[in-house]
């Protein structure tokens, strides 16, 4: 059972990611499915904006390296058996999946903990960039510094 990590401009099938990381000693897979949200509240002003679509771009070779690193760190730190990460690039319509992280583990507790850790690290370290396009403009999303 190997891990997987990929960047793709195709629509992501969350079941295929979740189901490609099912080792026979495991009983549970926890999957985070992040997707393009129609309404976003501005953290500073509290104003709610309606997003028309998203565009994701990546520094692809580095993003793949950083994805491999967080997988390696998660497997060292948590009792998990297999990890799959897929991140969408290009234009995403509202409701389409931007990221899927699936973690299979013998015990579900470790799968939950590792999956939550992985999305936090991905948002902190993997060089992928989100642009939100509104009816009246567009803005790069402000992320967290690593």
């Amino acid at each position: 059972m190997s891990d997987l990590y990929e960047l793709t401009t195709d629509v992501i099938d969350i079941a295929s990611v979740a189901r490609r990381v099912v080792p026979p000693e495991c009983g549970a897979t926890v999957t985070l499915d992040g997707y393009a949200r129609r309404f976003t509240k501005d953290k500073a002003t509290g104003e709610v904006r309606e997003t028309e679509y998203l565009v994701y771009e990546a520094y692809e070779p580095m993003a793949l390296k950083e994805m491999a690193k967080i997988i390696e760190r998660a497997k060292a730190e948590f009792e998990v058996s297999a990890i799959g990460i897929a991140h969408r690039l290009g234009r995403l319509e509202i409701g389409e999946t931007s990221v899927v992280i699936s973690v299979a583990a013998p015990h579900r507790k470790a799968a939950f903990t590792a999956c939550e850790w992985l999305i936090r690290e991905l948002k902190r370290t993997v060089p992928i960039f989100k642009k939100e396009v509104y009816a009246d403009g567009e803005a790069w999303s402000e992320g967290e510094m690593p």
Binding site: E57, S98, I119, T125, P127, F129, K131, S141, G143, M145
Partner: protein, 86 residues
């Protein structure tokens, strides 16, 4: 930017908001040998004022580096603001 006798040519990639601010996604720059990553960022901010107000991350050959890291000839630099995937 000062061109020393021993200069090196670097490829600089810009992503996300930093690409918009720089007005380009890629540049070749010639810099003095031994320049650090932080010094390069300062010189890029001088050249592209849109970058000046931003907190920038720098990667060399696809690894995050500290501002004090010296750059090597032929390396690939990437400049971006905080990442925002997920």
């Amino acid at each position: 930017m000062v061109f020393a006798d021993f200069a090196m040519i670097l490829r600089v990639l810009f992503f996300g908001a930093a690409a918009d601010s720089a007005g380009t996604r890629e540049a070749q720059v010639e810099v003095a040998e031994g320049l650090t990553a932080g010094e390069l960022v300062e010189s890029l901010k001088a050249k592209h004022p849109g970058l000046a107000g931003q907190k920038l991350l720098i990667a060399v050959d696809q690894e995050y580096v500290a501002a004090s890291t010296p750059l090597e000839p032929g390396c690939e630099i990437a400049i971006f603001t905080a990442v925002s995937g997920g």
